[in-house]
């Protein structure tokens, strides 16, 4: 394919601004967040005192926690970029352009969008550095200079994001190439077995027993180590049981559905409980962490009089770290939901157009897709918080878990997350509305 054809292909079509802006924004956010988190970790790794190891371990946990939503977001953004070109690409194939040429054009576009987003992300990171530098750890602020990465580090992160976009575009496109009618022609609903719930129940029960027999007199550091372990187990359990729980929840919704939007939303979730879970799993994790943050806040209130200054500082720092991780997770989940929604609206444009012909109001379709996200989201957020509470209360006591300060913190964090996700769905409404406009 020559350069002139490539340039023609890459020219944005009118009215597709949002499908370019969304992945670009997503890539900008991924870049800015990765740079900020790695910058913070750089400061942690500069410490050499005996307590530094614990901080570095906690920073590593936070990084790992952010990897999943980051990868999901990056992948979703790249897929949207690739999906946008599907129609043109199939036409090109019919015109005799080789599959390699078609793939090349798509990957190049995703890469350009990612590069632009990444550049904006770097600028965003540089603008954020002075603010992030004000965050206190170990009783003093981090300092802008300490968290500013060297140019080579910034370049490496930027290049990594662009590479991720390229790889995701290739993978996404291959799926399209293998099964261009995959969505429409799906014949069987993927099964999610109840054995998942049994396994999850056993793991939770085991963890609960372990926490019960865990010595209440153990030091704070030991308690943190156990909590971190519980955390990992619980996240694994959530991922195991999440799709099954959403399936059961949606089946109940389906039986009760009297309104078209409720019927549609329940079927949308049942179409692929795993996909529905992937969209909201970030919130499950965040909601789970919120319980830890909330009880941490309440715990600090009660222990401030008795604990040593070091332990108190550590507890404050863990809370700060949790809040930062939570905010980052929420932002990424909200943006990935926005990007996924945009992708699915583009996929279903023909169907939406036909629904418009039939006189189906855009509000019905919008309510259905919003409900298909928000209903599993609320269910997941509450379920995860309850799971976390079950694990936390033997360690800190029920009084701390249900302390007003604890509950207010948990509620505020979960409400913020839910509001951000709702916003993520809402911003794609104009894209949906275009299919419902008269020609």
């Amino acid at each position: 394919m020559n350069a002139r054809v490539l340039a023609l292909l890459l020219r944005p079509a009118p009215g597709q601004g949002s499908t370019l802006a969304l992945p670009a924004t997503a890539f900008a956010m991924v870049t800015a967040l990765v740079l900020t988190v790695v910058g913070g970790a750089q400061k942690f790794w500069s410490w050499t005192d005996p307590d530094a190891g614990l901080y570095q371990a906690l920073a590593a946990i936070a990084l790992v926690l952010l990897v999943v939503p980051l990868a999901t977001l990056g992948g979703a953004a790249a897929r949207l970029s690739a999906r946008r070109r599907d129609e043109r690409l199939s036409t090109l194939r019919l015109l005799g352009v080789s599959p390699a040429g078609v793939t090349g054009a798509t990957v190049l576009e995703s890469t350009i969008v990612a590069a632009v987003g990444s550049l904006v992300g770097v600028l965003g990171y540089l603008a954020l550095v002075p603010l992030v530098g004000l965050i206190p750890f170990r009783g003093e602020i981090l300092g802008a200079a300490a968290i500013l990465l060297p140019p080579i580090g910034i370049l490496a992160v930027g290049a990594g994001v662009v590479l991720l976009a390229g790889i995701s575009a290739v993978v996404g496109l291959r799926q399209v190439v293998i099964s261009p009618l995959g969505v429409r022609m799906r014949t069987s609903v993927p099964r999610v077995h109840w054995v998942r719930a049994v396994l999850a129940g056993l793991v939770i029960a085991g963890a609960f027993v372990f926490v019960q027999v865990f010595p209440g007199t153990a030091g704070l550091v030991m308690t943190i180590a156990v909590l971190a372990g519980m955390f990992a187990v619980a996240l694994a359990v959530l991922n195991l049981v999440g799709p099954w729980a959403l399936k059961v929840h949606a089946q109940r919704g389906l039986r009760r559905a009297e309104h078209p939007s409720r019927l549609l939303s329940a079927r949308l979730v049942l179409e692929s409980p795993k996909a529905a879970w992937r969209q909201v799993s970030g919130i499950a994790m965040a909601s789970f962490m919120a319980v830890f943050a909330g009880t941490g806040v309440a715990l600090m209130n009660t222990m401030s009089a008795t604990e040593s200054t070091e332990n108190l500082t550590l507890a404050v720092d863990i809370r700060t770290g949790l809040i930062i991780t939570l905010v980052a997770s929420f932002l990424m989940v909200a943006v990935s939901i926005g990007v996924n929604q945009a992708s699915s609206i583009l996929d279903q444009r023909e169907l939406h157009r036909s629904l418009h012909f039939l006189g189906v109001p855009v509000e019905t379709v919008d309510a259905a897709r919003t409900r298909a996200i928000m209903s599993p989201l609320l269910f997941t957020a509450v379920g995860s918080a309850l799971c976390a509470a079950v694990l936390v209360f033997p360690l800190v006591g029920i009084a701390v878990v249900v302390a007003p300060l604890s509950l207010v913190t948990i509620a505020a964090v979960v409400a913020l997350g839910i509001a951000l996700v709702w916003l993520g769905v809402r911003v794609t409404r104009p894209l949906l509305s275009t299919a419902f406009q008269p020609a």
Binding site: R267, S354, F357, L358, G359, A439
Partner: protein, 236 residues
């Protein structure tokens, strides 16, 4: 011709520099089946969209006379009113069926009623009745991907009819089907529309489909160039 159910006068529509309709006049009688034929780009789909109130014309009028109630000038109605009209009084069948893949066959049909406020139980009962009438009994819980092209089109026909639509618009309803299935689908479409005293408007480029209708309107370059009464072979 029977009492007119649709009366279009001097319809014009342009898209950019392309003229899709250049002063079309058309009267459709109640209980008729009218085929609109023409080459690609002749304006036949635009004509169907304008008659159905999907696309407003640049000029001209479309009067719809329901069996009960006062006549309506579709072109003077706003988008919300036209959507309501399409939902309650018109039915649509498209080339690809365009059914909702996540819903079962019966839910796709019942949804049309539920959107108009019918309870789910009643909507499902009506939908099941239509499925049985169209030879789809036993396939209620099948997903769209589990149906053949002809079965999916019959589900689309049931969806178009379940609301009691007086007027059904079909855009190349057999375009993606083999000739035998195409015949079966036309049987179902004609039985469920004109067979029940309703009116059918079909856009097609298939002369065999047109031959099954009571009248064929030929369109070229945005003009109606002739009308053929198929049953008598009279050309106007």
């Amino acid at each position: 011709m029977n009492t007119p159910v649709l009366h279009a006068q001097s319809l014009t529509k342009t898209f950019g520099t392309t003229t899709a309709l250049a002063g079309v006049d058309l009267i459709v009688g109640r209980g008729e089946s009218v085929a609109i034929m023409g080459a690609s780009g002749s304006g036949k789909t635009t004509l169907l969209h304008v008659l159905a109130g999907i696309t407003p014309p640049d000029a001209g009028s479309v009067h719809y006379a329901p069996a009960h109630g006062a006549p309506v000038d579709i072109t003077t109605r706003n988008e919300r009113e036209r959507s309501k009209l399409r939902r309650e009084s018109f039915g649509f069948v498209f080339q690809q069926g365009l059914l909702i893949p996540e819903l079962t066959a019966i839910e796709n049909i019942a949804l049309a009623l539920m959107i108009n406020g019918t309870s789910r139980r009643v909507a499902l009962e009506h939908a099941a009745g239509w499925m049985a009438s169209l030879g789809l009994a036993g396939m209620e819980e099948r997903r769209i991907g589990e149906l053949s092209g002809g079965q999916a089109q019959r589900v689309a026909i049931a969806r178009a009819q379940v609301t009691g639509a007086e007027l059904v618009f079909a855009d190349e309803p057999t375009g993606a089907l083999d000739s035998q299935t195409s015949n079966d689908v036309m049987d179902a479409l004609l039985w469920s529309t004109t067979g029940q005293g309703r009116t059918l408007l079909v856009v097609t480029h298939d002369s065999e489909v047109a031959a099954r209708c009571s009248r064929t309107v030929h369109v070229r370059d945005g003009h109606v160039i002739g009308t053929e009464i198929v049953n008598t072979g009279v050309t106007a």
